[in-house]
C-alpha cells in the first residue's frame, strides 16, 4: 500500500501498462511536450518517446477515430480527451463506430481502446466546459463506462480497461485529480461492472459515482455522528450497471437517495431510481430521491455555479427528508 493522488494512480498505471505491453500507445492533445492539460501523462514522453506518447492536432474526431483503426489492427490505444465536453466532436466515431464495429461485423474484430476523459463542473469553466454527459455513453450498447471515485479504483479499473477488448470510456473528474488514497502495490486488475459498498450502513442507501462518492462519504460520516447509518454504494461502473448491489443495499435499508453531478432529468439517477423501484419495490419505504445539478447551462459566476451544483448540504437535506417521510427514529 502507498498513499498517492488519483492523478498519480492514473499516471503510474499508464506507465506500468506501457511497460508491460508494447501495443499500449497514448494519443491525445498536449499529452507529450505539454505533459497533459492536467498532467496525467507527465514524464511519459521522456520515458517512452514520441511513438508511444503521441501529441495530436486539435482533431478529436480524427484522432479518436484513428484510435479505433489502431485497435482494429490489434493495438491498445489509450486516448486522452481534455474534457468530456470535447468528446462531442468525436461522438460519431465513439458511438457509431467504436461501439458498433464488433457486433455489426459479426464479432470479427474487436476495438480494444480506452478513452480517458474528465468531466465535471465547479471550476468556473462555464457552460460548455463543465458538463457531465456520461449518461449518454452509459446508454450505448457496445461501450463500457467506468467512473472510479478513488485512487485505488482508478488504478484497478484503468488496468482492467486497457486489457479489456471492448471500447471503454474511462471517466475522470477535474475535482478528483488531487484527492489522495491508499493504493495497493503491484498489479491490480479491477472488475468492470461491479459496484462497491464504499461504506456499509443500515438506515438509508446513497448511490453515487466518481466525485459525488466523496461527498456521499463525507455526508455519511456526519450522519453517523447523529446515529444515522448511511450505506454508500459507489457504482464505479455505469455500463454495465451493477443493479444487484444497488438493489441488495436498498432491500436492506428501505430508503435510497442518488447523488449525481449531472442534470436531473434523464440523468444517471433516473436509471437508478427506476431500477430500485423495480428491484426493491416491496422494500421501499419512501420514493427514491435524486440530488442532481440544476437544469441550466452552467453559469460562470461563482454564486450561480455553487447554487446549480449539488453539495453535501443538498444531500443532507434530502436524506433528512427521506428519513422524516418514513418517520425514521433511529
Amino acid at each position: 500500500m502507498s498513499e498517492m493522488t488519483y492523478r498519480e494512480a492514473l499516471r503510474s498505471t499508464l506507465r506500468r501498462e506501457m511497460q508491460r505491453d508494447d501495443s499500449v500507445v497514448l494519443l491525445g492533445e498536449e499529452i507529450g511536450v505539454f505533459e497533459g492539460s492536467y498532467k496525467i501523462t507527465s514524464g511519459l514522453l521522456a520515458e517512452f518517446g514520441e511513438t508511444r506518447v503521441r501529441d495530436t492536432p486539435i482533431a478529436e474526431e480524427g484522432f479518436i477515430g484513428a484510435g479505433i483503426g489502431m485497435a482494429m489492427l490489434g493495438m491498445r490505444p489509450v486516448v486522452e480527451v481534455m474534457t468530456i465536453n470535447f468528446t462531442l466532436l468525436a461522438i460519431d466515431q465513439i458511438v457509431n463506430h467504436a461501439a458498433k464495429i464488433y457486433a455489426m461485423f459479426g464479432g470479427q474484430v474487436a476495438v480494444p481502446m480506452v478513452i480517458r476523459t474528465p468531466g465535471g463542473g465547479g471550476q468556473q469553466l462555464a457552460a460548455t466546459h463543465s458538463q457531465n454527459l456520461e449518461v449518454w455513453y452509459a446508454h450505448v450498447p457496445g461501450l463500457k463506462v467506468v467512473a472510479p471515485s478513488n485512487p485505488a479504483d482508478a488504478k484497478a479499473l484503468l488496468t482492467a480497461s486497457i486489457r479489456d477488448d471492448d471500447p471503454v470510456l474511462f471517466l475522470e473528474n477535474l475535482a478528483l485529480y488531487n484527492t489522495k488514497g491508499e493504493v495497493p502495490d503491484g498489479e491490480q486488475v479491477g472488475e468492470i461492472g461491479k459496484a462497491a459498498v464504499a461504506k456499509p450502513g443500515t438506515d438509508v442507501t446513497v448511490v453515487s459515482y466518481s466525485r459525488a462518492t466523496l461527498i456521499a462519504l463525507e455526508v455519511a460520516r456526519q450522519f453517523e455522528k447523529q446515529g444515522v447509518s448511511v450505506e454508500v454504494v459507489d457504482l464505479r461502473s455505469l455500463r454495465p450497471l451493477d443493479r444487484e448491489t444497488v438493489c441488495a443495499s436498498v432491500r436492506k435499508t428501505s430508503r435510497a437517495v442518488v447523488l449525481e453531478d449531472d442534470w436531473l432529468t434523464y440523468g444517471v439517477g433516473a436509471e437508478l431510481a427506476a431500477t430500485i423501484q423495480e428491484g426493491a419495490f416491496d422494500y421501499l419505504d419512501a420514493p427514491v430521491r435524486r440530488v442532481a445539478a440544476a437544469e441550466i447551462p452552467l453559469p460562470y459566476a461563482k454564486p450561480l455555479e455553487n447554487a446549480a451544483l449539488p453539495t453535501a448540504d443538498d444531500l443532507t437535506k434530502v436524506i433528512n427528508e427521506v428519513l422524516d417521510a418514513t418517520r425514521f427514529t433511529g
Partner: protein
Amino acid sequence: MSGSTGSPTTGRAAAAGGVTPETLKDYYAQMVLIRSFELRASEMYQRAKIGGYCHLNLGEEATVVGLMAALRPSDYLFTTYRDHGYALSRGLGAGRIMAELFGKATGVSGGRGGSMHLFDQKARMLGGYGIVGGQIPPATGAALALTYRGGPGPEAEAVMCLMGDGTTNIGAFHESLNLAALWHLPIVYVIINNQLGMGTPVEKAAAEPELYKRGCSYRMPGVRVHGGDVMAVREAAAAALDLARTQRQPSILEAMSYRLRGHSVVDPAKYRSQEDTQQARDEDPVPAFRAQLIESGVLDDDSATAIEADAERQVAAAVAFADESPDPEVADLFVHAYATPVAGTPHRLPGDPVISVPADDPGDVPDEGGRS
C-alpha cells in the same frame, strides 16, 4: 505517380504492354461478375429478399476491379456502404456476400451488417461503413498501426480508404488527411467521383470540385484517373500504393466514375437528365472493356459470352446458397454484444424485467435479465 494532373491518365498503354491476356480476361470476368451480382441484388431487393438500404456499383465496375487489382492481400481495405463489388473482387465469395444481403447466418458479417457492412477479417476487408466519412478516421488509424509493425519498403503493408465525391466535404475527411500527412502514414485515399452524392452534383457540394486537388491543404499529392479504364485505375492505384509503401507518402487518387442507376435501389433518379443518363450508358465500362478485349484479340465473342455465362452461374449459385442458408438464431442475439463479457452485461429481450427480484435472498446473479 508523377504529381498532380488535371487530365485523366490512360491505361491503354499499360493494357497493351506487360499484362497477360489471362489477367485481362480475369479483370473482365470480375467486372462481369459485379455487373451480374448487382443486377441480381437489385432484383432480390424488389422481391424483398434484401431489406434496408442497398447501394450498387453498377457503372463503377472498372474502377472497382482496377483498384482491387492493385491492392495486395497484405493490404487493408476500408470502404463505404457501396461495397458489393469490392467484396467480390477482394474474394469474399459471391455466396457469402449474397447471404449477408439476405441477412443470413452464413453472410460475411453473420447477417448482422447487411449490404452496407460487408467485412472479412482474413481478406483484410475491414468493412463497408454507412456513416458518410465514418471510415476515414479508422482507416487512417489502421495506417498508423502499420507504422508500428515495421519500416517502409516495397513489401510493406498499406491501407486503401475509399470514399465518394460527396464525402470530401465532411469534417472527418479534413481531420484525417491532415493526420496522415503529418504522420507520414501509408495510406491511399481513393475518391470514387461518380459526380453525384445522392442527387447533388459534385459542383454543388465541393467548392473545389477537382477533388484530387483537395490534398493541397495537407501538402498531399493527388491524381485523377479515368475510372472507366480498368488498367489506368490499376496503374494509378499501384503507384499511389507504392508511394505509401516505400515513402509513407499518403495521397489522393480520384477515379472519375459513373453511377448507372439511382443512389440506392429504391431511388428512381428523376433528377437526372436524359442526356446524362444516355452518356452513362454510352460510357458503360463493361461493354467498353469487352469491345476493347475483342478488338485486341484477348477475347472473342464466344469466350466473352462464356465468361458472362459463368458469372451468371456464380450469381445464381450465390442466390441459391443465400436462400438455403439459415437465419441467425434469435438465441444468438447477444453473442457479439461484447468481446470481453463482464458481470452485468444486459441480456434482456424487450419486456424482460430489469432485475430478477429474489423470492428471499438476492443470491448471486451474474448476468442480468431473463430470457437469454
